[in-house]
Amino acid sequence: MTELDPRARDEAVTIFERSRAGRRAFVPPVTDVPEVPVSELLPASQLRERPAELPEISEPELVRHYVTLSSKNFHLDEGFYPLGSCTMKHNPKLNERVAALPGNARLHPLQDPEYAQGALELMWRLQGALAEIAGLPHVSLQPSAGSHGELAGLLLTRAYHEERGERKTKVLTPDTAHGTNPATVTMAGYQVVKVGTAPDGGVDLDDLRAKATDDVACLMLTNPNTLGLFDRNIEEIARIVHEAGATLYYDGANLNAIMGIARPGDMGFDIVHYNLHKTFTQPHGGGGPGAGPIAVSDRIEPFLPTPQVLRRGGDNGAGRFVLDHDRPKSIGKLRGFQGNFGVFVRSYAYIRSLGADGLKDASQVAVLNANYLKARLAEPGIAEYLPIAFDRTCMHEFVLSGRGAKEKLGVRTLDIAKRMLDYRVHPPTVYFPLLVDEALMIEPTETEPRERLDEFADIVRAILEEAAEDPELVRNAPYTTPVRRLDEAAAAKRPVVRWWP
């Protein structure tokens, strides 16, 4: 193999290691003002002594470096990406085009609102659309991602309770919750109390009742939950939570299942965050950017962050859009400026592309695709090894357990995931949610055609067959990737987190 492929053992080279003194990709514009020595303009104490060791490289080689790096990434435009909880749906190229319009991309955030009416109108319209989708009337677009939205939600909850003179110290999260939920609780100054899961995969109502004491500020829930199951008791849950004087928070990561079908606001949620980078097609960018707008009910509204985008004046096109900074009860600012506007543009374009009918259709197909793939993976030859964790109709995703494969074939979920890499599909989310042994969390999304689902089922079957025949083959996968299994333990033990000259 190595003999036939002379480049097979090529080592990664960083851009810094490609540097050669004297090369450059940048040429500065002409200096058109007096060339006063820097030492006359800056105090000696604050003068940098040596230039930062940035790479010296020409444009052609700079481009090659990053283009070549890029081709080491698997990506959504290459193939199937059923990463549960991440909603890896197609990212329309149209959205990139409109985001890049100079009127959007080159607009300064502090431009006088009088000269940014188009941007403010877009934000206002997006707020309206998101409010309608979630069934909650007031939206702040400011949070930068889902977890930022969660933090906003808990700070709002705190402000709400404080204004009422109530002191609450705990926040409930189900044991199926995403890690950001408990992490946020701590950052927001609350104590996490875990609520159990009932045999049907929903919240354990008895446990909830027991824990919903009056020092509880909030229950954070996602519905459908991280098992991909819609909690049938949602109304009862809301009742219990509200009776305890707590708010009910909706983690919107799974909103893709229910658009146009059911709304968190109608279920009794007080605060919702959206992941625009999941449900509303902002590309993930290899780990961001995203945006995590929140929507809230009337009673929470006074506390929303500043500034808010409002329309002043008539409905008949005469209205002006303003940034309202004057919100005395507001929790204040979560970040700079008005939020990730570039993300808003993309999500707004997506919402207008699909419209009311299209959004509903998207959710329906997302659920159809998930249930179809679930059915395909429940076939004999697969289900023995990867049984479904909770055997119910799922929503947009579902969770299998790799217990069978581990016990009967001696391959773990991790091994199966790594072998998938050789088949050029992205593995599902693995080992989450925590309460499922050897979990595989599979979310196909609505933008996949049936062939991709069938192909994935065939791949899973093929890997299980390989494992039955030769478990080592699977345990040592992958073989065809730019690198093979990496030593993560060594990386964490003796961390090398930058290149040194």
């Binding site: 540097s19 992490a183 960018g285 780990g287 939020g339 990730n340 109709t393 987190v497």
Partner: protein, 447 residues
């Protein structure tokens, strides 16, 4: 069927059959009738690509963007030239569309970029460890406060009034959650952080001290002195810095700063009406295991080949949950990519050349305007002046598509007549002279 889905009538039938239900509606049976929406959501019907484009283009046309005026607006985000190769690289599906690299074997591109980014940030800040990005500038400041809380278990935060107003606001917002309080330190009459006031504000319960370099008014702070005063009682010293200015300024890490954070927009990111950009977060070695967010680390694969992984994940929410060092999950990887590509494009010499060009033009501009300086000392890319007829200047300037800068009044009542003027490599001497002319042309008075 929408243009983004693929399920034909035939597919539908076959799929429902395989699932064993008669209709898509049945799949939603778990949703109680009482919480089902019994109507269509109230949004307009879907549009063709062309119609969406035209609608959004019409909206965008109502914004006066940075190419449509000569703007001196900065105050945290700046009109820099972004080279074309950044657009090209960021538009590549390989960078644009993957998730956070949980499967390192098929994510070496993204992971190596993070590692390179960390290296570049470390070089700029003079601090050995950097994460792979946080949301943006002000929330990076707030993240530093959280680290200080975890590290010191103290409850007081001391912030210079030279810190960006948005950073101070974000700090205050987050501090409520952290159970901390923020005390502000005034500026001197020269627009620099008041060293004595800062020293006085720091006490045994102080978790961290926050300064900004250059500060919000553009002043180059005496960072070493501030840091020394700040850490007297064991508080962490946090500096928010403009990474481009660090091209010629002494690195915070060389001046006793523990944590350096900042807004990354100036590094190859669009203005985008304020986001997305990225925040950076660099710190001294001892904070490595308390850092927020993703960190890429170098390692080897089973065949001994060099590779990169997300490392020290036990800090993070998905592993550590309520004990995580921060709740951040999705960060700003694509924007950080723009950042490291931009820095590589500038290169070792280019960064210095660019910063020096800004420095010289900035000083030229302050002189050319001939106004009373709020901060008469050293500045790099921005400065504040008092304008006797601020409204008049804006009126005259707007009429000829010049944007004179940022009005300080809202954030600093003490500078009601203050104007913050930002200079980048895109503002030529001619542009500056034009602003100077507008300043001289008092309303109704010929120049």
């Amino acid at each position: 069927m929408s243009r983004y889905t693929s399920i034909t009538e035939q597919d539908l039938e076959a799929m429902l059959g395989a699932i064993g239900v008669g209709s898509v509606e049945e799949l939603f049976a778990d949703i109680p009738e009482s919480v089902r929406l019994d109507r269509e959501i109230d949004l307009p019907p879907g549009l063709s690509e062309q119609e969406v484009y035209e609608h959004l283009a019409a909206l965008a046309a109502r914004n006066r963007h940075a190419d449509a005026e000569v703007g001196f607006l900065g105050a945290g985000m700046y009109d820099h030239y972004v080279p074309a190769l950044i657009d090209n690289l960021l538009s590549r599906s390989e960078f644009l569309t993957p998730y956070t690299p949980y499967q390192p074997e098929i994510s070496q591109g993204g992971l190596q970029v993070m590692f390179e980014f960390q290296t570049a940030i470390s070089e700029l800040t003079g601090l050995p460890v950097s994460n792979a990005s946080v949301y943006e500038g002000p929330s990076a400041v707030a993240a530093a406060a959280y680290l200080a809380k975890l590290e010191t278990r103290r409850t007081k935060l001391v912030a210079s009034r030279g810190l960006h107003p948005h950073s101070r606001a974000a700090l205050a917002t987050h501090a409520v959650g952290y159970g901390m309080e923020v005390e502000e330190v005034a500026l001197t009459g020269e627009g620099a952080t008041d060293l004595e006031a800062l020293a006085a504000a720091v006490d045994d319960d102080t978790a961290a001290v926050f300064v900004q370099q250059p500060n919000f008014l553009g002043t180059v702070e005496e960072l070493g002195e501030l840091a020394e005063a700040g850490r007297r009682t064991g508080a962490l010293v946090v500096c928010a810095a403009d990474p481009l200015a660090l091209g010629i300024l002494k690195p915070p890490g060389e001046q006793g700063v523990d944590i350096c954070v900042g807004e990354g927009q100036t590094l190859g990111n669009r203005l985008d009406f304020g986001g997305p950009s990225f925040g950076f977060f660099a710190a001294a070695e001892r904070f490595l295991r308390k850092m927020p967010g993703r960190i890429a680390g170098e390692t080897r694969d089973v065949d001994g080949r060099r590779g990169f992984v997300l490392t020290l994940q036990t800090r993070e929410q998905h592993i550590r949950r309520e004990k995580a060092t921060h709740n951040i999950c999705t960060a700003q990887a694509l924007n950080a990519l723009a950042g490291v590509v931009y820095l590589s494009w500038l290169g070792k010499r280019g960064l210095v050349e660019l910063a020096e060009l800004m420095l010289r033009r900035t000083h030229y501009a302050r002189e050319a305007l001939g106004l009373e300086a709020i901060n008469p000392g050293p500045v790099v890319r921005e400065f504040a002046v008092r304008v006797p007829d601020l409204d008049g200047l804006f009126e005259r300037a707007r009429a000829e598509r010049v944007n004179p800068g940022y009005r300080l009044g809202r954030d600093y009542p003490e500078y009601e007549d203050g104007l913050l003027v930002a200079i980048t490599e895109r503002r030529t001497r001619d542009d500056i002279d034009r602003l100077a002319r507008l300043v001289r042309e008092r309303a109704g008075v010929a120049a």
